[in-house]
């Protein structure tokens, strides 16, 4: 009986994590891809120099951040993976989503800008209630939004 309780205690979160986590991830990826297409006209570079030339009207510091957590199935899968080593796919997709989402939010915070330069990505693992437990990851994207002087006839 006790064994059954223990088994349920460990498997339910993992199963729930698998079902809902998969759905949530697929949904998130669809939204990321759609929004990336919508913002393709706003280039974000890690250069310190400007891409365009011409007088700059305004520049400002812009940020975008997101906190994403990993589901229990992936946590369990990564624990198994750490036995044999190799690339941990579940964390790769987590960080990929977080970084792309942060970049999108950065762009969404300045829809009228012409370009964003010197973009930097900062990652922080959020500690859980137990030591060394990672509950989620925060990604912060920041850069300088450049607004050029609108010229008559320019695209």
């Amino acid at each position: 009986m006790e064994i059954l309780f223990l088994l349920a205690f460990w498997t339910i979160p993992v199963v729930l994590g698998y079902v809902f986590g998969r759905m949530a991830e697929a949904k998130h990826y669809r939204s990321i891809i759609a929004r990336e297409k919508a913002f393709v006209h706003l280039p974000a570079t890690s250069l310190k120099t400007l891409l365009g030339d011409g007088p700059v009207a305004r520049s400002e510091l812009v940020t975008g951040s997101v906190v994403i957590s990993i589901d229990h199935f992936k946590k369990a899968a990564s624990a198994l993976r750490s036995v044999v080593g190799g690339s941990v796919k579940s964390y790769e997709s987590l960080l990929d989503r977080a970084k792309r989402e942060a970049l999108l939010r950065l762009k969404e915070s300045c829809p009228g800008a012409h370009e964003i330069v010197n973009v930097r990505l900062e990652t922080m693992a959020l500690a859980g209630s137990q030591p060394r437990q990672v509950t989620g990851v925060e990604v912060l994207a920041y850069g300088t939004a450049i607004y050029y002087v609108e010229q008559a006839g320019a695209a």
Partner: protein, 104 residues
Amino acid sequence: MLLTNIETIPGKSITVCHGVVSGSSVRSKHVGRDIMAGLKNMVGGELRGYTELLEESRAQATERMKAQAQQMGANAIVNVRFSTSSVAAGAAEIYVYGTAVTVG
């Protein structure tokens, strides 16, 4: 107060450099948010409560940095950098620093 994370303010020139200014803020998540995050954690996905929390604390750190620059008589901060660390379980430090300058 103009802020950029590149070395200059495009279209303007730096006349006086005042030195490094910084601002920090340490925040901890509150219990309500923690419970919600715990539930959300099971299925994964965005922890909105934490995103907002870190955003608020970043805004506060930036305000503190701006106040310090204002005291020095600067009107812009260039080369701004954000830095974060989880100091203890449930608390995070946000640190913002940059160079206070006067542009003309």
